[in-house]
Structures are given as C-alpha cells and as structure tokens.
C-alpha cells in the first residue's frame, strides 16, 4: 500500500522524526490554508513538482490561487483532491535518504545522497558515486559504524542527531512492515534535520498483522479521494495488450513463454493474465471474466501446467464460466500436471478439446484468431 505524503508524515511525527508544521486541505475544507507556505498536491505518483503540483506562496491571495490551480490538476492520471500546506523552511542543504530492500542481494538497503531534492534515478544514472548504498543485516539492525559512514558521506556534522534520526527511520521501516521509506529531500535547516517529503510503501503481505494501520490509512484515502486505494491480495495479474488472442496462464514463466510463442507464430496476445501457481476454480472463473471483457478477442488460449495447482479444479472453473456465459469463441485449453486425467476427462466430456503440447495449442489459438478476423 502506497501512502500519501501527509500519511507518511503522520507516521514520521508519531516516530519522532521532525517534519514541517502543516495542514491538510481539501476542496470542501479550505479553512486551514495559510501563508506564507508551500502548497503541495497529494498524489501517489512521483514528479509532481515539475508538473506544477507544488507552489510556494507568500500571502493568502497567492495561497488561494495556488490551491485552485493544484486542485484542478490531474497528475499522471491521478486527480488531485487534497493538498498539504506546510510552513516554508530555511533550507541550507538537501539530502536524499531512503531505506528499502534489495531483493537480489536479499537484504535491507539504506541509500543516502548529498544530492537530494531532485530525481534520484537521474542521479543514479549520471553520478552514481553520489549515492551511498549500505546493506543492513536485518537481525543486527542498523549499526553505529554504518550510521557514521552515512553521516560522513553526507558531510553532516551533528552525528548524534543524525544517528537518532536514522534509528527512528529504521524502527519505522521494521515495525510498520514498510518496503520503502524515502525522504527526498531531507533538509538541513537552522533547527537541524527535517523530513520535507515522505514516500512510504507498506507491505501488503503484512496486512494480517498490521490490520489496524491498514484500515486507518485505507479509510483516510477513501475519505479524501472518494476512491479505494490499490488493493493488495488477489493473485491475478492482468495486463491488457494489443492483439486478439486472449491468454490466461497459471504461472508467470509459462505465461511469458506463451506470449513469446504467440508472437513467434505470427499472432498477438490481447492480454497477459496470470493466476499464480496455487489457485482455485473461483480464480479461474474471475480470470475468464476479466479477460473476456475484451471484445477484440477472437480466440481464447488457456495454458495450464499444474504443480500445486489442480487441473480438475481448473476444469471446474472453466466449465462453470462457459455454462454461465454461452459463447461461440474458439477455446484452446492446454492442460497438464496435477490431476490431469480428471481435468481432461471433465473438459472432453463437456465437448472441449484438450491439448497437451504447448506449441500445438498456441499454433491453433493463433490460427483461430486469424480466421475470426
């Protein structure tokens, strides 16, 4: 779950991490607007500054105008419905600080840079030496010598203040099951370090043990935007594409392989839809609902190879869908693996041919789609 800046800052405040004084303002409730201030669009995507989503104002008239202008914006498809209005800071330096994890190195990772305030990916591309990356053993936690290394790299003098700051970030990262805590910029002011921005993403897999937190944050997002946030959970990945062969698979690897084979054989997939390797008739059914909503589809290709996944259950889902939704669409089902005899029998008895060889299945699905055009 991605958090808005104001939500991340509330977590910062709770954790004792300094933030600017600020107020949340929405279209319906603008009474808390103040000036001089920074008026900032609350959106989940990045790059709002360049798109006019952050304005500095010196008086109330400017503040009202800035609020009007930002509240009418749509940033990367996201309508702005809330603003964070914050006191202006006396900024001496701008750092970058983040903690996340490096999946390939299997460890949490701190990243700091003295070149904060800008697009960090651009810094990483052009001046990688300006980013310090420090892996952290999660069982040891963040150690003093690593904190010193970060402070030295940034050239920050008050080591004690910096250590307390980093320890609070680490604690928040661990205790809230965050996968990303990013502060860009982390500013140096006359009063010390202040988190001027916040980007936090929580681990959806931790929902069961962070229920109260997720519920509070989710309700907040709903209240402000009028829309449910991104939902975690669900095992279906659905990516719409340009072609006319509807594709469903029960594994990302075979799904991608099938995508390649479809193209190699002269066809184009209408989508990439993958259900995960341990699924159920209900998931199969909803995958069919989702994929077949696309009316450009001229043939359907279901590629199943069961390990944990049971083929009798997959057949059950497919047959239930087509008994609820009569259709003339050519359906090609490649089905093998766990409980394949039972699955094949169910499909065959219902009048659907079952394929064992993937190439033959793909080639037929591509041919049927071409014939249907």
């Amino acid at each position: 779950m991605k958090l808005y800046e104001f939500q991340g800052k509330a977590l910062f405040e709770e954790a004792g991490i300094p933030i600017p004084r600020g107020a949340l303002v929405t279209a319906d409730s603008r009474k808390d607007l103040f000036a001089p201030s920074a008026v900032k669009a609350q959106v989940l995507s990045g790059g709002r500054g360049k798109a006019g989503g952050v304005l500095l104002v010196s008086n109330m008239e400017e503040a009202e105008k800035a609020a009007d202008s930002i509240l009418s914006l749509e940033l990367k498809g996201e309508k702005v419905s809330a603003l964070l209005v914050e006191e202006k800071m006396d900024i001496r330096r701008e750092y970058y600080l983040a903690v996340t994890f490096d999946g390939e190195a299997r460890t949490p990772l701190f990243m700091v840079s003295p070149s904060g305030g800008m697009d960090i990916e651009a810094v990483a591309d052009r001046e990688p030496e300006k980013i310090l990356k420090l892996p952290v053993d999660p069982l040891w936690g963040i150690t003093d010598y690593k904190i010193r290394a970060m402070a030295d790299f940034l050239g920050y003098e008050d080591k004690k203040e910096f250590a307390a700051f980093v320890r609070r970030i680490w604690k928040l990262f661990r205790e809230k099951d965050a996968v990303l805590v990013e502060i860009n910029p982390l500013v140096v002011t006359d009063k010390g370090l202040v988190a001027l921005d916040s980007k936090i993403e929580l681990d959806d897999d931790a929902l069961p043990r962070q229920k109260a937190l997720f519920e509070t944050l989710g309700a907040e997002q709903l209240r402000i935007t009028g829309q449910e946030g991104e939902k975690g959970g669900g095992t279906i990945t659905y990516v719409p594409l340009e072609g006319n062969v509807g594709l469903i698979s029960d594994g990302a690897g075979t799904g991608m392989l099938t995508l390649d084979l479809i193209r190699d054989m002269g066809g184009e997939a209408a989508d990439f839809c993958e259900m995960g390797g341990l699924t159920s008739p209900e998931v199969m059914y909803s995958a069919l609902e989702q994929v077949l909503e696309d009316k450009r589809i001229k043939s359907l290709l279901v590629v199943l190879i069961g390990g944990f996944n049971r083929m009798d259950e997959m057949a059950e889902g497919i047959l239930k869908y087509f008994s609820d939704h009569k259709s003339d669409l050519p359906v090609v089902v490649r089905l093998c693996g766990t409980m394949e005899e039972e699955g094949s029998r169910m499909m065959t008895e219902a009048g659907y041919p079952v394929y064992d060889d993937l190439r033959t299945a793909v080639s037929d699905a591509v041919r049927f789609a071409a014939e249907g055009e």
Binding site: A206, R209, V239, L259, D260, G307, L358
Partner: protein, 288 residues
C-alpha cells in the same frame, strides 16, 4: 549425486496437517521421497499418510533425524517455523508459500546466510532429482532421470521445459525452481555452481525471464568458472516495457532487464541461447 536432494534426503513436512500439507505429503510419498516426519504445533501423536506428526522440529529431529524441510506453514507463521527448522539443524529448506511478509523473508534469509543453510523460495515449486527425491510440486510424469540440470525462476516454466525434455527422452539430474517473489534465497548463480560441481550433470539449462539482473550475474559466473555446456531460455521477449508480468521482478524498466540484454550477456559468456523449449531440446541433441 544430483544436487540439493537425492536418495539420502530425509524430509520433514512443516505444516503437514493443513490442506496443502496433506495433499503434497501424499504426492511426495508416492514419488518415493523419504518423508520421515511432519510438524504441526499441537498435533503430536497424529499421523498423515502414515507419517508421524510432532509438535516441534526438535522432537522430529530427535526421533527421525531429517536433513531437509519443506514448509506449507501459512505466511504469518512461516518465519517462526523456518527459524525453528534452521536452528535445529535442517540444511535445506524449501519455502513453498507465497505472501510471507517481506521483513520475515529478509530475516529468514539473513539467518540462513550466516549458517550456510540453503533456502529455496519462498513462493517456489521446489526441487526434484528425478528417480531419487522430490521436494516440491513437480508433476512426476514430466521428469525422468538423466544428465541435464535445470534451474528456473518460475516453477511452471521448469515443468514446461522438464516436460519437453522428458517427451524428447532427455533426462534430468535435478530440476530446481527458485520462486517468483521479490526476495528469494538460492539464485541462478548458486544453482549453476552446484550443477557445475555435480559429476552427474553434463549439461546445464538456465531458464530466466525479463527483469532484474540475476541471469547476468549467472552469465558472469559461467564465463569465469563453468566448463560444462550451458543452454539458456529467457522468456518475456515480447513483453511490453514498464508492465509487471506476474513475477515481482518481471518488468522492463528502460534498458534494464530486457530479454535482449540478458541474451547478449549469456551469449558473450558462451551460453547457447534457445528461443523456445523445443529449441532447448534441439541444442542439447546437437551437444550430445
């Protein structure tokens, strides 16, 4: 020989009394895997498919001396179960479940790394050494004993290529799936190294996908240290940029993680690159 699992592997099933645990224990036993015990807290004295169930790994260790574990423990309890198995002396741990909180996965892998314990997964289909031992979900008929070692990130793709090899009469020494999550234990390079040292493996098949850089790391290792022929298939050549295709890592960002960049690195390392499972078979036939 083979790698990771063989006829001497003695397995405990953690979470043996759950739905997946029961079903998979049956399938492991049918394959001939030596499942010596199961563990579910509070279920001591029961048995599943004739396998005795204990409350703790310690009890199972005292009586049955297992050396490997496969876990079907629900995600919220998976870390505790994994830590228990590792502390008691399990050397190989297969974590099948998806959805384990990421901080828990990080803890498990950090603990394992400090003790040289091998962790496969999480979110993995596991490993099979055909004819000897299956510690995962691989459909039995798709694998026969032989000399080709296969490593794959994706479980389903490891079945697919296993099936294609088997249909062509080409057997495998071991087939291992690493898991599709954003953080995982054993990687391609580790598996390639084990295959390289395994006398029974003559040809290595490396199955990869778009996104991330672990195939590139494996390619660098192959160029440096691997003498055996390596055949590779990278899936997702036709994937659109910027879209995540199911696996957490399977996304193309800019020029990073594209199939083309991986294929180039592999070819530079002397790897034979196939574009489909059928081509993997063709190349192996030519090699062999």
């Amino acid at each position: 020989m083979a790698i990771l699992v063989n006829e001497n592997t003695r397995v405990i099933v953690q979470g043996i009394t759950g739905k997946s645990g029961i079903l998979q224990t049956k399938s492991l036993l049918e394959y001939g895997t030596s499942v010596v015990a199961g563990v579910t807290p509070g279920k001591r004295g029961n048995s599943v498919e004739g396998v005795p169930v204990f409350d703790s790994v310690v009890q199972a260790m005292e009586r049955c001396t297992p050396n490997a574990a496969i876990s079907f423990v629900p995600p919220m309890f998976a870390k505790d179960a994994a830590m228990e198995a590792m502390e008691v002396g399990i050397e190989l741990l297969v974590l099948t479940m998806e959805g384990i909180p990421k901080h828990d996965v990080l803890d498990i892998l950090a603990y394992a790394e400090g003790r040289n314990i091998r962790v496969i997964g999480p979110g993995t289909a596991g490993v099979i050494s055909p004819g000897k031992c299956k510690l995962g979900a691989h459909p039995s008929r798709m694998f026969i004993p032989g000399k080709v070692g296969v490593v794959s990130k994706s479980g389903a793709l490891s079945y697919e290529v296993g099936k294609t090899l088997t249909d062509a009469g080409i057997g495998q020494s071991t087939v291992v799936a690493l898991g599709g999550g954003p953080i995982w234990g054993m990687n391609q390079r580790d598996a390639v190294e084990l295959f390289n040292d395994d006398p029974e493996t003559e040809i290595i098949v490396l199955l990869g996908e778009i996104g991330g850089g672990t195939e590139i790391a494996a390619a660098e290792f192959i160029a440096k240290a691997v003498k055996k022929p390596v055949v590779s298939l990278i899936v997702g050549r036709s994937a659109p940029e910027g879209k995540s295709l199911g696996h957490a890592g399977a996304i193309i960002r800019g020029n990073k993680g594209t199939a083309a960049s991986k294929i180039e690195a592999l070819e530079r390392a002397g790897v034979h690159v196939a574009l489909s499972p059928a081509q993997v078979v063709d190349i192996i036939r030519k090699l062999g």
